[in-house]
Amino acid sequence: MGKTMLPKLMAGLGLLGVIGAWFAGDSARFSANWFVWSILLLAVALGSLFIVALEHLTRAQWSIVLRRVPERLSGLLPALAVVFAIGAALGLAGNFGWSTPAFREALATEPHLHGKAIWYSSPFFIGRLVFIFAVWLMSWKLLAGGSMKQDETKDPRFSLFAKRFSAPFMWLFAISVTVLTVDWLMGMSPRWFSTIFGVYGFSGIFLSGLAATVLGILHLKKQGRLQEVRPDHLYSLGGFLFAFTVFWAYIAFSQFMLIWYANLPEETFWFHTRLTGGWYPVTFILPILRFIVPFFALLSREVKMDARRLSLVAVLVLVGQALDLYWLIVPELGRGVLFGWQEVAFGLFFTGLGLSLAEARMNVGKDLPEGDPNLDASLHYHL
């Protein structure tokens, strides 16, 4: 009992700190923290939704047995829409990203930013934010909701529909994730641009979804549920995690190397901020945490099949994603490394909130998608 109360306790304790941070008056820092953590949770939900669609699209059979976990995790989306709306209401009145006076002034006064001024006009910005959330919520309703309904109806037509829907969903997902990363992460700086940035954001989102799925499965297994997921399935998930760990490093390094090599002042300043002063150690730690450690940890077959060690790597991946978002957002406040009680409070609150919501989601519907006509093949999946 004590263990299940822990996330709620964390959230409660963190909430006090978050309220304190609000009254401490540092609204830019408050917003930055809010979005670091809400985008982390959003990454988990979106990554899970992507896994579901990817498995439908490729008609993968091995993953049907564990599909309910990412389906449930993508159910965090409605709650996150609320979290994002609160953040937008609290933080966008002139202290975060594109809405700060400095950003507005740069757009208004620098002729080469004229195109961006249109992109960042308030109605367009809010309009597309609403649009991408609508896309995600609708897709979640169709894919996860439809799958749960299939448990009752056993209608095989849903599987066909899910496959067909997943194809256009990939387009919508690519566009919406690019909008999310460009608006909320790259859009912290009025002048910086990187055409690979959307892919960078996607790699983190997919990794977060995979890591959360692994943790969800192992959590259920610990409770004696979902015993149908065997080391063979875990191995395949671990392989995914390994592949996209390398993918993240590839994208992150490509972005860095091209900017470093071309050495154009309009691009390099973004990395210069992060390679000087207190940010240098953070930039140094990031690839170690996100690439080197998980890479070597996941090399071995035993780790990918072992629940305890795989869950450690999954936690590491999520910590890496949190640090990545912190590294993307906070340096743009131009105030050096901000780490104090406010950051701890936000960490506690959102970790607790995410865990409690995920825990609650884990009891929605049945543990196995019993209506899927290919479930049997998945149960007998061998490497």
């Binding site: 390094f253 190397m257 090599y261 050495n263 090399l299 077959r301 061998h382 490497l383």
Partner: protein, 393 residues
């Protein structure tokens, strides 16, 4: 070819039946069992009790050595062996090393580690043949049958193994004769070797003919045909038809030196040596002197030339009283514009270096007939600051 029974094969219809067969025979035959299947079956090595392959470790070790090798080699080349500036980057630019480090790591790990590791450890390389390859069952095994093989030595063994395999559920069995000792077969697998030779000859002849054909084809000259201005070429873009533009009247070269003097005497009146005679300047002056002046004026500046006697010019002795008394500007003007048969060095040596050379000539003049006081002063300076002898290297 030895004719003793070597293997007994039992052919099963599917992988599950094969696994049941393995479990049935495991206790009797242990490590004499081996399985041959049309596709890899995960987990079968555990059933057979085959220990984990070392290929993974070899791949990791070679991958890490590839990483170290590529990183180390590039670091050595670019920082020590052959320093080249690329785009103003530091010599040790690790980011530019990464693509090659990545390539070499993958190359060593995959090709050397995995492929050669597989050839030796899995395919047991010095053995290039195995009796099973010439068995009747081989075509079936590569199609849709799952074979369980038992190693045997004698005919009685073979009979017993056949019975055991049938009992374990194999409808078909075959006794394979032969041995897998190295050298038991032909020395080289003739057909593949012959095929390789023929392919090489064909490829060589083909390339030879093609390159004769290529000579008759137009060159790929996209790079040459760019719409840009090339120096010393006709260019229809400009009214005068020339690609190079004449200088705007009144243009002054940024590197040109403005000289108000016309004779060394005048220069001696007008110019003052802008450099102070510190150790760095003197070192620079010495280098300049030894590079440009020494061949004619000699190591000590006394006019004993190093050139052969066939060169009949008489270089000036720099220690003559006239030159000792001449002001710095005078010497500078001679170095710049030349005198008698001596050519001017104004175009070859930057002005600052010429002034440094003048300082060094002064050093030579004073050093050749130094007084005791000069020697004591020099010793005192040397004792106080040994580094100040920077001019000597």
């Amino acid at each position: 070819m030895s004719d003793r029974p070597f293997l007994v094969l039992g052919l099963f219809q599917d992988a599950d039946k094969l696994v049941h067969g393995i479990r049935a025979l495991k206790s009797t035959y242990g490590d004499k069992l081996e399985a041959y299947t049309p596709y890899p079956i995960h987990g079968i090595e555990k059933e057979l009790g085959i220990p984990k392959s070392h290929v993974g470790k070899i791949v990791l070790a070679l991958g890490l050595s590839g990483l170290t090798l590529a990183l180390g080699f590039q670091s050595w080349v670019f920082t020590t062996d052959y320093q080249i500036q690329f785009g103003g980057k530091p010599y040790f630019s690790w980011a530019s090393f990464v693509p090659i480090v990545f390539e070499v790591t993958v190359l060593l790990a995959c090709i050397v580690g995995a492929v050669f590791g597989m050839l030796v450890l899995v395919n047991k390389l010095p053995h290039y043949s195995h009796p099973i390859l010439s068995s009747r069952s081989m075509p079936k095994i590569t199609r849709d049958r799952f074979a369980l093989a038992v190693s045997v030595d004698t005919a009685e063994d073979a009979a017993r193994a056949e019975a055991a395999l049938r009992q374990a559920g194999a409808p078909e069995t075959e006794v394979v004769h032969g041995t897998d000792e190295i050298g038991s077969g032909p020395l080289l697998p003739l057909k593949p070797v012959l095929a390789t030779v023929i392919i090489c000859v064909l490829a060589g002849l083909g390339t030879w003919h093609l390159q004769r054909l290529w000579n008759k084809l137009p060159l790929i000259s996209i790079m040459d045909e760019q719409t840009k201005v090339l120096p010393f070429r006709a260019n229809a873009f400009y009214p005068d038809g020339q690609s190079m533009r004449p200088l705007v009247p009144g243009t002054v070269s940024r590197s040109a030196e403005y000289a108000a003097w016309t004779t060394p005497e005048e220069a001696g009146q007008m110019l003052v040596n802008p450099l102070s005679a510190d150790s760095l300047t003197l070192a620079k002056g010495r280098r300049g002197y030894e590079t440009h002046c020494l061949v004619c004026h000699g190591q000590l500046g006394d006019g004993t030339k190093l050139l052969s006697d066939k060169y009949t010019g008489a270089p000036a002795n720099l220690h003559q009283a006239r030159l000792k008394e001449a002001p710095d500007g005078h010497l500078f003007a001679v170095v710049t514009a030349g005198k008698n048969t001596m050519a001017g060095y104004g175009k070859d040596i930057p002005a600052a270096d010429r002034w440094a050379i003048v300082h060094y000539v002064r050093v030579l003049q004073r050093a050749l007939d130094a007084s005791d006081a000069d020697v004591q002063a020099a010793q005192a300076v040397a004792a106080a600051a040994p580094v100040a002898q920077g001019g000597s290297h």
